[in-house]
């Protein structure tokens, strides 16, 4: 793989991301796989669509990688994020971190997903049976609030 921090429309590989960080100095490789959940607040997702500001998103992922290095100098990390249409249980993001000892790898891995949700320009659109909505669009302008089986849940 050419890049350690990338956005792609192709399926992500757990093995390839792990291989990016596996090395003799490491005693732990922790991976996080963010997958597409079928039910959110009682409402059934049919599929998700991810969109990215591709070039800036990769820059921001690299910046997070540098932040990890500052906090955990012994850590190596790699991140892949999908775009396009994803089905239930597909991997939307895979984060791999290796460190000499496991505690740092767990901590750094969680740090990365939290930062992705803050500073990486990627958006997901929920597609339900009866509507769709960009997540983060608090106005919910495209949602059909009345016709949904799970529409009463909030």
């Amino acid at each position: 793989m050419e890049k350690r921090f990338f956005v792609t429309s192709e399926p992500l590989s757990v093995e390839e991301l792990a291989a990016e960080v596996t090395r003799p100095e490491a005693g732990a490789v922790v991976q996080f796989i963010g997958t597409v959940r079928e039910f959110t607040k009682g409402r059934r997702t049919v599929y998700l669509e991810y969109e990215a500001y591709h070039s800036m998103a990769e820059k921001q992922l690299e910046a997070i990688g540098r932040e990890v290095k500052e906090r955990w100098p012994d850590a190596e990390s790699a991140v892949g994020h999908r775009t396009g249409e994803l089905q239930i249980s597909d991997a939307a993001v895979i984060i791999a971190v290796s460190t000499p000892h496991r505690k740092d790898a767990y901590e750094a891995n969680e740090y990365i997903i939290e930062r992705i949700k803050q500073i990486v320009p990627i958006w997901k659109k929920e597609h339900w049976e009866d509507g769709e909505q960009w997540v983060g669009d608090q106005l919910e302008q495209t949602r059909y609030p009345d016709g949904a089986p799970g529409g009463g849940n909030k």
Binding site: V93, K117, I119, V120, W123
Partner: protein
């Protein structure tokens, strides 16, 4: 011209992924947002921006040929 990139629901508001606006009279991100508000009658409140792929403030300078991205709250992961 100044290139404006629209993502997520911004695409729906502006009817496309990419706009080009005349750079005349535009010096900052704030000017770009004011222009979009008046020219498209668009609500861009709560929207972050990036200039040439770096997060920006309203006071960030914008000049001819720059790319300004409208960045709604992100929802990756």
């Amino acid at each position: 011209m100044i290139n404006v990139l629209c993502f997520a629901h911004m695409k729906d508001i502006f009817g496309g992924e990419r706009l080009a606006i005349n750079s005349g009279g535009i010096a900052t991100v704030k000017d770009v947002l004011e222009h979009l508000k008046s020219a498209y009658d668009a609500d861009v409140s709560g929207i972050m921006t990036a200039v040439n792929e770096e997060f920006a403030e309203e006071s960030t300078p914008v000049s001819q040929g720059d790319t300004v991205a409208l960045i709604p709250p992100v929802s990756g992961g």
